[in-house]
Symmetry: C2
Subunit: 600 residues, 2 copies
């Protein structure tokens, strides 16, 4: 039956060239209405919508079928393309100047009434959308998102292929990878009590591939992390992953810049300027209180410690005496009301800050609960340093440096979103470099890698590592280690860390030292990544690489806030797939087969 109704052209492609020609369309009834003896069908397929007209007089048989059509019925239409009568054109529609006069219609399938219409207007809850994802995906915007994502895949792979990178698949049933997050584990049936881990990234495998001599590897690959799902995190996400041998930072960063420019130019028509801006980690923290700052608005952090070095104000003084810092941001000419200020005070309290000192500059005075404690000199210092003008509102944070960064960095973002300070036109693309290699983890009471344990330290910093290893005194050790910088580089776009990478350690000796600094015993290291350590014994080349978060990159390029809109079948914040109902209970037989039982 399909034969004579085999599509000859997509609805969305009907154009001048088809005028007067017979066509066969396949698609969904988007809308249908009967104007006394004439049925008008908006027929929809992947490529768009075209109007189909069925006249009772001319085609009684087709008319009879058309008259019984309902929304989302699946039909085939044989008809002839003609120009719409003057005055009935629809300039908003790509095919709006044409219509197809139907001679034959076949109904391939019917449809129940949809839980929500296929349009962009009707507000539908996220939950319902995800439960009926196949209907949500019929919407123009969702289709465009996934079509765009398809184009990204193809360009990315062509880019790497042309540059001599080899696509190699890495395993899914593997061993814990040390990305810091929790592993998803998979019980083994053949090996009672043992488990596979799903890969958090192909990190170790791509390094192994460099040791194997593949020189340039890439892969677009799913990664899985059992993390506490913050807003807009997915337990499974897609990574553009690559690695190169015999390279330094500049070589890898150049490949990244070329790829990003290729994508933006060819998929968005936007020429990004190269080389990308570079920000040191320190500069980023000092100015924005974040290592992935959103630079599309001001409200920068300003250092004030020097101004208060002799202050009488107890709070500030004790902070400085404890080696802390005092910083502030000036919300210029915002003229915030007291209640607006209070809202911001409450916000920082949710971040765990005791309070938030503030000054509102008024024509005649500084309105503030704390200025009374400041000396004239200090106030003068503030006026100049912060360039105070009427209607400015200044917020202070005093405490440990990292704390001040965290509080003001978050406050800065909070204000920018709340008061629409962000310039959404265009993209701010830049590098953050010179990260610390290690940082002290207060909870674990040990040093941890800022990136991962295979990240190489800056050349020349090996001495610091040796010194730190010898140092007994913890504070002194911290001081030394804080000076060690890594060969890592993160790419930031509009305040999102879109990817990161580093030059890796290829010397077994150096790798051992790093594990020592991390307090990882040789036994533990052997157990966890012995295979990499062994590989380093047999001629490992210098190498480095990078990994992009593809979901976020695509969302950013499409101007979308949520990565769910660029993932065909996303999960909720609780990790549930509302379409399939996963995760779900399994049979006792299944559990027994893999030698586990569920804890009561």
């Amino acid at each position: 039956m399909l034969k004579e109704f085999k599509r000859t052209v997509y609805c969305g492609h009907i154009s001048e060239e088809h005028l007067g020609k017979k066509v066969v369309l396949n698609g969904w009834v988007h809308r249908v209405r009967n104007h006394g003896g004439v049925v008008f069908i908006d027929l929809r397929d992947r490529e768009g919508i075209v109007q189909v007209v069925v006249e009772e007089q001319k085609n009684p048989e087709a008319y009879e079928i058309a008259d019984r059509l309902r929304s989302e019925y699946v039909i085939g239409v044989v008809g002839t393309v003609r120009r719409r009568p003057p005055g009935t054109e629809n300039p908003n529609l790509k095919t709006g100047y044409y219509e197809v006069e139907a001679e034959k219609i076949a109904v391939f399938n019917t449809s129940d009434v949809l839980p929500f219409p296929v349009d962009e207007e009707t507000p539908v809850s996220e939950e319902v959308k995800l439960r009926y994802r196949y209907l949500d995906l019929r919407r123009e915007s969702m289709k465009e998102n996934l079509l765009f994502r398809h184009k990204v895949y193809q360009r990315v792979r062509r880019f790497f292929d042309e540059k001599g990178f080899i696509e190699i698949e890495t395993p899914f049933l593997t061993k814990s990878t040390p990305e810091g997050a929790r592993d998803f584990i998979v019980p083994s049936r053949l090996h009672p009590g043992k488990f596979y881990a799903l890969p958090q990234s192909p990190q170790l495998f791509k390094q192994i591939l460099m040791v194997a001599g593949f020189d340039r590897y890439f892969q677009i690959v799913k990664c899985l992390r059992d993390e506490d799902l913050r807003a807009d995190r997915q337990p499974e996400f897609t990574q553009i992953d690559f690695e190169m041998s015999f390279v330094e930072e500049e070589d890898v960063m150049q490949v990244v810049e070329e790829l990003v420019c290729d994508l933006f130019e060819n998929l968005l028509g936007i020429k990004l300027k190269r080389p990308f801006d570079r920000l040191s980690y320190e500069e980023a923290m000092e100015k924005y209180g974040s290592d992935k700052p959103d630079r599309r608005f001001d409200l920068n952090l300003v250092e004030l410690s020097d101004i208060f070095k002799n202050t009488e104000f107890k709070v500030f003084r004790s902070v400085l005496e404890d080696g802390g810092v005092i910083k502030a941001i000036n919300f210029k000419s915002s003229d915030l009301t007291r209640s607006q200020i209070d809202e911001l005070v409450n916000y920082v309290q949710t971040l765990g800050a005791k309070g938030l000192a503030w000054i509102k500059v008024e024509a005649d005075r500084l309105n503030s609960p704390i200025v009374k404690f400041f000396s004239q000199q200090e106030i003068e210092g503030l006026r100049q340093r912060l360039n105070l003008e009427p209607k400015d509102v200044v917020f202070f944070s005093a405490g440990k440096r990292e704390e001040v960064y965290r509080i003001l960095g978050n406050l800065r973002l909070h204000i920018a979103k709340k008061y629409n300070l962000i310039n959404n036109s265009g993209f701010d693309v830049f590098w953050v470099v010179d990260f610390p290699l290690l940082e002290w983890d207060e909870e674990e009471k040990r040093f941890v890698s800022v990136h991962h344990p295979f990240t190489a330290p800056k050349e020349g910093h090996e001495e610091l590592i040796d010194k730190a290893l010898k140092e007994e005194n913890l504070d002194e050790k911290k001081r030394i280690i804080s000076q060690i910088r890594s060969r890592a580089y993160d790419l930031v776009i509009n305040g999102y860390e879109i990817g990161g990478g580093s030059i890796r350690i290829h010397s077994l000796e150096l790798q051992d030292k790093i594990f020592k600094l991390l307090g990882i015993s040789e036994l533990e290291a052997q157990e966890k990544f012995g295979f990499l350590l062994n590989a380093l014994r047999y001629g490992a080349p210098p190498h480095g690489g990078f990994a992009f978060g593809l979901d976020r990159l695509v969302a950013l390029m499409r101007g979308l806030d949520s990565i769910r809109d660029v993932i065909a079948f996303p999960k909720t914040q609780k990790g549930i797939c509302l379409l399939t109902g996963a995760p779900d209970y399994v049979s006792p037989k299944q559990l027994k087969e893999v030698h586990i039982k569920v804890l009561e």
Copy 2:
């Protein structure tokens, strides 16, 4: 330090154009030897090997370093390309007419003595190879295999992209897919007692994508099945997966043929003739005793039941009375010895056959334990039907039809391999079609899908389905169901099922009927694939698709027997990754977090 040693050309690319030019090489010391004051280094990288010469006289510094080099050291070389002295050329090497005179050498990394040399000659056990996969992958042949696989990926995706297919990722943490095999399950941390299943295939999701209106989908995707690993099966394997809407068998099969021809022509330079041969399931079983026959040799099954319809030979008679069949294969002019025959008898016993009747044709007589039971007429019949000639050896199988297929089908393959009957030149590519929709499962005592429950029955066979549903008598029901054919099609190359597909069911009513025939209750159906059933209510288009086994396809194209040779990090038959040691034990904390304990 790398700077001045940054590669300018791959070792394997040194050619006429570089003569007299300064080059920088990075690579591994493949071989090194010192001939009195001159060190010769075979330097290897991804692209090949070139000879590097270091002369003590000319470059004492470089010489001193070169003299201390050992196999698999990683080095950089600055030198000048020159022609090898006459008589010292190596025509077996792409670069064999040139050598690089080294001026500077840098050692990037050293290497312990390898557990086995990087060459094709040295025999190394599979186990050692897999444990040191990074060394095994340095071998020319393995590199070529993965490079070839890389090319397959790129061509496949370009092919689908150009045909308007959209690449869409389907989830890994999902719900059980009904492919018949066991699921790998993943305990959920956020949902105690619940589990995700890893996908056995994207089957349901790609059908959902058709309901969503994407019209043409494709993906190269990992699939995971916890099967009892037969030789050369992997728990995770890669599939080339696609689906199309508004199509019939011919449309899908055409896409498959075009893709296969594209790959063979562009990657192997082989033009396959189209359309591919087609074999009905029945024909395949009758002639070869297999639904994925190897047709590269004869030894076909010959039907003999009619010849023995009135036989006095009890064994045969009782078989025929029980509705069984008698078939034989004739190993022409093999002149097998008695002990060779006995080996084959033993083989079929391993298949569970009681015995194997045979006849050896000798110049003057038929040497056989059973001919004495045959009538002259029956012997005459055999002579003609099997075209008996001296030195022929005939093997009989009598029993249930399926049993005879299984026994002789396997014996046929066994003989072919043992006696090298297989013509290994070229590829035998063909379709098997007209499969039964369902078959009776003796163990489960119910009907099961030959492919999967979403496979559509042949048009016109709906009546048979209704009849079968009404039929009370099981034997009669079996008879009716055995007549129902499906709209499935398998692609076979050189005796391997390289892929399969079908037109799917898009009618909810029909899908319900199939579940009934399969003895799947509505409740169970709702639980397992309710989301697909619901999707069928809302305008599901006619659709169908196909999936290739990429690993096997690549292995076949490379002329390899084992798919392990085309997988970068394969697992053993017991599902172990010898490189990483996965699966492995996990911490009690990890188990507790996902609310499970291991059974003692």
